[in-house]
Structures are given as structure tokens and as C-alpha cells.
Amino acid sequence: MRLFGLSFKVIKTLFTTQYAYMLEYRVEIALWALSGVLPFIMFSLWSQNDVGNSFGLNDIGLARYFLSAFLVRQFSVVWVVFSFEEDSLSGRLSPYLLQPLHPLLRYVSAHLAEQATRLPFAIVITIFFFLFNPSSFWIPSLSQLFLAYLATHLAFSIAFLLQSLVASLCFWTEKSSALERLIFVPYLFLSGLLVPLSAFPEKVLMFANFTPFPYLINFPAKILSGMPVDLLNGFFYQILWITILLPSVNTLWKLGVRRYTAMGA
């Protein structure tokens, strides 16, 4: 059975090919993994000023949260808008549009392959983190690991769909990556990447919970670090956002592709 041209064989072949492609760029990926250390910078900032207590977290809790945020970010980072924009403007999108496979699925496979390539670098960085912060060492339970894995993949799906929605605007604006900045700023503040959401005032928190951003980092990171979290509420909102975004992307794509002019091809 095929959905949007997808079968197990297509998934397997796309993934292995994209993984081989990503391995060609392992140094670049190592640098990208290193460039994702923003949560560690935030950790050192908050722990030195001893403000962690005001978030309801001690130094160990803060360290575990930011390490978890780093790991979640490694496996939910999305760059589809930039690749799509380049392919669209250069005409590389044209052959993809004429094959019986939805072009966005190629980008999904590229992201998943990149995540697999990032894995060893993320492990090495985690080991170093524990070497420098031995007191924060912990081993999550199997159920915690499973739920965090699930929440991270759902977070990736939301982020991918959100950026695909912006990427589809390429059919109208040609430079939709500029619009991505509009998402990036609230993402930075409301996802929990800079600070755990518990640090925000009640009203901001209430507002944030109605956006998709807390479910991208804060929710999976809390599960992984063992912080108290409303699992039912978190997974409900993750699935709700996917349910909203998936048909939106599909509709925008269908409308946009009618305007495609195959520039550069």
C-alpha cells in the first residue's frame, strides 16, 4: 500500500541513500551538532546567577533539563524551508514534482538521515557534559526514554509541518525563508530552549500553551529529564497541532504548486 507514493521500500531506500549522502558531510554535521550548544550556554548563565531556584529547579535539575533540551533539539531540528527554497529557485524541484512521490517526503528522509548522522556526535557531547557535571548524571527509565523518544518525534513532525507551511509560501514569495524568522523568534522564547517555561509568568505560560512551541522542546525535555509533566495534556496538544498542520500544508501545497513556474529549469 502506498500513501503519497510512500512504501516501506521507498522509505528504506530514501533513508539509506540520504544517510550515505549525509555521511559525505560528517564534518559539517559535527559542526552543526556543536553549534546546537545554546542550551548549555543558557545552563551556565542561569546556574551561575543562581536563578534556577526561581524556576523551581536546583542546579542538578537545571543541568538535566538543558541537557535534555539539547538532545531534543538535536533530533527535532528542521531546515526544510532553506532546502526547499533553494531547490524551488534553482529548478531542482522540477524532477521531484514529476515523480510519483510527494516532494516533501524527500526532505523528511533527509532530516531523518541527518538525525541518524548526528546521533554519535550527540552521544559524545553528552559524555563530555557528564564529565564536567558529574553530579547531574542520571539514567532515565525505559518508559521515560520511550515517551521522550515519542514526544521528540512528534515535536519534529510539528516543526517540520510548521516550516513546510512557510516553505510552501515559496510558490508565492520566492524568499519564504525570510518569513521563517517570524517563527524562529517565538520558537526561541516559547519552546523552552532559552529557559524552562516554568520561569514565565502565569499569563505568558497560558498563552504559550496554546501555541505549538512548548511542545517542540519543553515538553519532551521535561519527560527525558524526569521533571513532573502532564503527559496526557502534552501528547494531546502535540497530536492536535499535527492534525491542524498536516491538512493546512497539504492545502497550501496544492494551491501553491499551481503557481510553480519552474524557474531555472
Binding site: 541513500t17 549522502y21 503557481r259
Partner: protein, 332 residues
């Protein structure tokens, strides 16, 4: 739906307009472009109609910007027409239904679908999976097409390390792996050297012969058209101005033939006046432009009236004729 069972493609009053922004040069122009952007419609293809039968090889001819590629893009479903419609084998191309996509392929000489940093073989296996080919069929088809294209170990070398000719042949292999019955080729020999061009041409002719595939081709190289396309469609400024066989086009563009005669001794120009228009007269050599209708008569008279060593009859080069035509902008 097509009326004639052999009719595969029907293009009916097809038009395409592109919306383009107008920007004047300089700082003032930039400001005005930013605050008060003006756009207008540029017609790329205007009211074109024709039919193509299954198994035909048809060449699109036209100067740069004539509308050939836009027409090709509409026929393969890459872009939506502004007016009119295209029917390819019972499908509306712009709907891009899976059954339609499995029947066609598009090869663009200046664009590639192969993954740049990996060997072509990786891209071939991706295509095979996407088109639902079994491993056995994939291997068989790769071997078959690689033989026809004279490709071997190039398939396991990174694409970036291949020559332009090897890349193009690999592109063709990737594009034909699913055995499409309609090929849309946009400048498939662009940038290739003479030998590589000839190999691509002979491959396409062989593919058409073996599979009965329909081939629609645009090219700037007249050699591609003369070698492959018995039928040509000429487009000028977005409009169709000739649809027919290449020989008739040559005849209508050049109603005369060149007759080149090597003589045993020198003659004066006056002696050739009644035979044709003198193109060149040089000691014991004369080149005459003779009307096609009088050709047989003139040649036999030349042979009987002069001491001839050698005589050669040829058409003026078709690329020169068509080039002149596009330069003049003469629309028939």
C-alpha cells in the same frame, strides 16, 4: 479524449502568461519598485494547437525565448496553462496523477536529478523504489540501458567526478529506468562535445525503435533535430508557425538547391546565366543556385554543355535557413 486511436497528445489553444515585475534602474527605480511594484503579463505561449501520434519523434524549434521550453513544461505537467488544455494519453498533465507520472519523463540538459555527491547508482535505486520496480527488474533495466548508453564503472563513481557527457548519459538512464512511453527532452545535448552528442542521439533513436516511445525534443543543435526528428514544430514569439516534416520545411524555406560543378577548363560568368543564379565562380569551379523544379533539366544540360569533372547537388544547410528565418522573424 483523443478521436484518433494513435493520437497520444493533443494540445488545444494552449497559452501561458507569466507575471513579471517591472523595475526601472537606479535608486529611484528601486524605491518605486519597493513601494509601488508594477507587474504585467508576458505571453510565453499564445494559442498553440497540434496533435502528436504515439511513437513519433517531434522536434520543437525556435530561437531563445520563443516559448519551446514553456510549451514542454505544460505538456509534461510541470506548469499549469493559463488558457487552453493539453491531453497526454487521456491525462491532464497538470494533475500529475501517479499513472500519468509513470508514463512520462522529463530530461533537462541544464538541470540534473542525480544526487551530486553520490554515485548515479544510488539515485537509480531511489528512482526504482519510487516507481515501484522490483530489484530484479531494476538490475535488468540498469544493465540494458547502461549497455545502450555505454556506461559501466561510471555508475559507481560520485556524480561530481563524472564528465558532462557521462553525467548526461547517467541522467538519461535515471530518467528512463521506469520505461516511460513519453519522453520530454529539453536540450538533452546541451554543452556536450560532438561525439557525446552523437552517442546521445543514437541512443534516443535506438530507444524509440526498441520501445516505440514518443519523444518530444527541444534543441539548439540542428544536428539533433535533423538526426532524430522527421517532424518539427517551429515556434516564434510564443506562436506556432510551422508544423510538418523537416524536408518540407527545408523545401519551403529554400526552394532552390546548390549545384557545385568542377570543370575541366575555365568559363565566363555569362555562359552560366541561363542555368541558375551564380553563387560562386572561381577558375574551374562554379556554384549555382537552381530551382528544385528545374533541377533535373539543368543538371542534364550542364553535363551535356560543359566538360564536367565532378558535380554535387546539396541543400543549403538547414540550420542556416532556420537561423535566417528566426533572425528575420518571418512568420508563415
Amino acid at each position: 479524449m483523443q478521436d484518433n486511436p494513435r493520437e497520444l497528445i493533443r494540445v488545444d489553444h494552449l497559452s501561458k502568461f507569466y507575471r513579471v515585475a517591472d523595475k526601472q534602474p537606479g535608486f529611484r527605480g528601486t524605491l518605486s519598485h519597493f513601494f509601488n511594484r508594477r507587474t504585467y503579463n508576458v505571453p510565453a505561449v499564445t494559442d498553440i494547437s497540434f496533435n502528436i501520434f504515439a511513437g513519433e519523434i517531434v522536434g520543437f524549434l525556435g530561437a531563445n525565448g520563443a516559448g519551446k521550453t514553456t510549451l514542454l513544461k505544460m505538456m509534461c505537467g510541470l506548469i499549469h496553462p493559463s488558457n487552453g488544455f493539453v491531453d497526454v494519453g487521456g491525462f491532464l498533465p497538470q494533475r500529475r496523477q501517479t499513472a500519468f507520472l509513470k508514463k512520462i519523463t522529463l530530461v533537462m540538459g541544464q538541470k540534473q536529478q542525480l544526487i551530486w555527491d553520490l554515485p548515479p547508482m544510488d539515485s537509480l535505486y531511489v528512482n526504482a523504489a519510487v516507481y515501484g520496480l522490483s530489484d530484479e527488474v531494476t538490475r535488468k533495466r540498469i544493465n540494458e540501458l547502461a549497455d545502450m548508453l555505454e556506461l559501466g564503472e561510471e555508475l559507481t563513481r560520485p556524480v561530481r567526478k563524472l564528465s558532462l557527457g557521462q553525467r548526461m548519459k547517467s541522467e538519461l538512464l535515471a530518467a528512463l529506468l521506469h520505461h516511460p512511453s513519453v519522453l520530454f527532452l529539453d536540450e538533452p545535448t546541451l554543452g556536450l562535445d560532438v561525439n557525446a552528442q552523437a552517442r546521445v542521439r543514437s541512443f534516443l533513436a535506438e530507444y524509440n525503435k526498441r520501445t516505440g516511445a514518443t519523444i518530444i525534443l527541444t534543441s539548439h543543435y540542428m544536428a539533433d533535430i535533423t538526426a532524430l526528428c522527421p517532424r518539427v514544430i517551429c515556434i516564434h514569439n510564443g506562436s506556432l508557425f510551422y508544423d510538418g516534416d523537416l524536408d518540407s520545411l527545408a523545401n519551403s524555406l529554400a526552394p532552390s538547391k546548390e549545384v557545385r560543378v568542377e570543370l575541366k577548363k575555365s568559363y565566363s560568368p555569362d555562359q552560366f546565366v541561363n542555368y541558375g543564379e551564380i553563387q560562386e565562380l572561381n577558375d574551374r569551379f562554379v556554384c549555382l543556385l537552381v530551382s528544385r523544379t528545374k533541377l533535373t533539366q539543368v543538371v542534364s544540360k550542364l553535363l551535356s554543355d560543359f566538360s564536367v569533372i565532378d558535380l554535387e547537388i546539396s541543400d543549403p544547410p538547414i540550420d542556416k535557413l532556420i537561423g535566417d528565418l528566426f533572425l528575420k522573424g518571418v512568420v508563415r
